[in-house]
Point group: C3
Chain length 314, copies 3
């Protein structure tokens, strides 16, 4: 595997949270935390990327992650180039590398890449010029490292630390890059216990989650949890879950008030968004007092700013 680190072990790209040291994650969270501002205040800004150009290359459609990276880049003083790319346009002839080389030749120095295909961000890292930085904004089912970081920041701000925590993730774990990146970070941070619960056919290979307990029963998975994270269900994958429809999924796996009552009384509820209400989560939970879902979004911009600052400082 191509290294995302320089010779001194500092982060040059962010492809995966796997292999990051606890202190590297903690430093990023510390820096991100200083970039948070109360709602209504002016967002934090600085000139860390002044004069730089960030290219957003989203080969999978995305509104919120793309907006989050775009705002992060602009609030660091960068120009942002958002390209209208899709796998179809790639199929039409221009190779991915030619697109990258072209943008690099236009002096785009940071590429934010989302792609449905595994290995694309690393492949790009292997080929770009030494001064270019690659940030993985979602890679197949494998990695979504800035999501993992924003989840960690959200948990830390509510729970202080990780070593006593029970974290439960519910949903299509098998296909989830969110779950994988959370698991990488939680392992590095020494989480007390990570429990994963999924519909039968969507349980992950245990080797993908070496430090987690794969639990059969939803109620048991939530019991005593400090953090409960519901994953987004792709409705088109409903048949794979061995449940016929959204209502049935909600009945069997949805995070509803009864289930949440099994967690610790001060448990927080997370979701990467966008939510399917009444599928993976009850509306009264999504909007309830224990929900930190909007804080996750706020923390996402801060974490992405911190990551961009870090990779450009190397």
């Amino acid at each position: 595997m191509i290294s995302q680190f320089d010779q001194s072990g500092r982060l040059r790209h962010l492809i995966t949270l796997k292999g990051l040291e606890r202190t590297q994650i903690t430093d990023l969270l510390d820096r991100a935390e200083t970039l948070l501002r109360p709602a209504g205040d002016l967002p934090s800004r600085n000139e860390a990327l002044a004069g730089r150009t960030v290219a957003n290359l989203f080969f999978e459609p995305s509104t919120r992650t793309r907006a989050s990276f775009e705002l992060a880049a602009r609030r660091l003083g960068a120009d942002v180039l958002s390209l209208d790319v899709s796998t179809s346009s790639r199929a039409k002839g221009e190779s991915l590398l030619d697109t990258i080389y072209t943008l690099q030749a236009m002096q785009c120095d940071i590429f934010v890449v989302r792609d449905a295909q595994a290995g694309i961000p690393e492949f790009i890292v292997e080929h770009v010029a030494p001064h270019v930085r690659i940030l993985n904004a979602g890679e197949s089912h494998l990695n979504h490292p800035t999501q993992g970081l924003l989840d960690m920041l959200t948990i830390r701000r509510h729970k202080g630390g990780f070593d006593q925590l029970v974290v439960t993730i519910i949903g299509d774990i098998h296909h989830s890059r969110v779950a994988r990146s959370a698991s990488h970070a939680l392992s590095a941070l020494g989480v007390g216990e990570l429990r994963l619960v999924a519909p039968e056919h969507l349980r992950p290979d245990a080797r993908d989650f070496p430090d987690a307990a794969i639990v059969d029963d939803v109620d048991r998975a939530i019991d005593g949890a400090d953090v409960v994270m519901a994953l987004r269900i792709q409705k088109e994958r409903m048949s794979e879950t061995a449940v016929p429809d959204p209502a049935e999924y909600f009945r069997r796996f949805g995070l509803d008030p009864r289930r949440l009552s099994l967690a610790k009384p001060d448990a927080i509820v997370m979701h990467p968004g966008p939510m399917n209400r009444n599928v993976e989560i009850a509306p009264e939970i999504a909007d309830g007092a224990q929900s930190v879902i909007e804080e996750q979004v706020t923390n996402g911009v801060a974490v992405r700013m911190a990551v961009m600052e870090a990779v450009m400082a190397v």
Copy 2:
């Protein structure tokens, strides 16, 4: 109805011109007027929105209004996030409120909203955080308040005041948010006379235009007018107008030289754009000496800057 005013009666959002005091409108027009610059000069700029993020949420397609708001925001120093939204994407699962909450969590402080559905801007006002501002950029057939303001600024610059004026609006009044917002503003400003003329089946309910005269005959409606405004006709609505095609519409309701000659010699011609030439307006009128259609566009940017400044100052 949700108030667009704060407790002191100042504008916090701009949803409708209905209920605005004459002085509130006049203040906005006065401010907008100071922001106008001669063609070719640098556009007026200031830092009233420096560090703020404006999110453009156009659930109906629009080129010109969206561009106008975008330029207004940038010339006030804001970052602008233009989202690729459509009613279809909304149908795909993410609720409108989840989109709004997400952007709000990213510290977008002003939302510019265009929607085909009545009540959406107010619905958003009810749910956003206190520091967020909502600007209605076109709501169903009901409101298009910045269009109303730019129309007033255009009239005032040519005619000085409103109390002696005869203003005639021709077209699909029934479905027109442009006519409604103009009528709200003209009422507040004490217009001399507002005449509305429409194809038979597109005449509005008189209760929607309490201060206007609904006139049957186009020639009579234009007779002696100071301002003649032609509305855009949606060609797909042609059958509803009880006229079979564009040529027939033009013959019966189009603003042509003969009809315009019935107005005052110094009458001005307005149109909200984009125009269907040879349908609602003759090309020689659209481009003629009495046309102020391009000034409307110029005034639109200034008015939107003035509105953004005003709501952010509260």
Copy 3:
């Protein structure tokens, strides 16, 4: 033909390279060259367009040229408005001129126009206000002047001058605005020899390339060349080339190592991009030591900055 020059012969618009004096081209190349920076350095920036708004009107899809103009404009301090236009939207009713007049009324001062139809940029020049500037970003098969300039800058940086050079262009010359603009510039700069080679049915009319030699045989055309430029082949035009498929095209006209070996040992290889590898160019040539294809992209941003500065200074 409408003049792109002011009364003193200075460039007010850039529609075509035809008719430019050698010194005019040289001045633009000299200025562009000062704007180049080593990869990884901050791109060159200045405030030549501060406060100005550049409108990108691409009626033909384009990723790279549009991005290049957008970055050039931003690095000169301009606001950039990228409109979602297409010939279909134009067909839907709003005339091209109404779009232009609207943007002009919003104080857009530079329009970057790409259009599949011949004569559109000149048509716009005829109609805009005196302070507005039009830059042709690709016009049918006729003109692509900034491409011509970036090609000249690339050649000059490698070869010093033009009068001893042999330049060979291979491909669909008949439909190529790239070849035409290169030929205009090379004529003005006094190139030693320009050779054009195309599939039988895609040979140009000799009157379109008065200073060039139209050569039948690819090998002969490349023999002793200093510069070899392969043009992009539109696969949908393959049948017109009288060759049945990409493999056959590559065999007969593709720039491969054997053919390149016929050129001078220090010949440079150019391509306007995006490339069809294994159709008009062999991958090992595209990525080889003689390829200057990425430099062309880099030079493109610099050349577009120089052009924008020049037309705004008049």
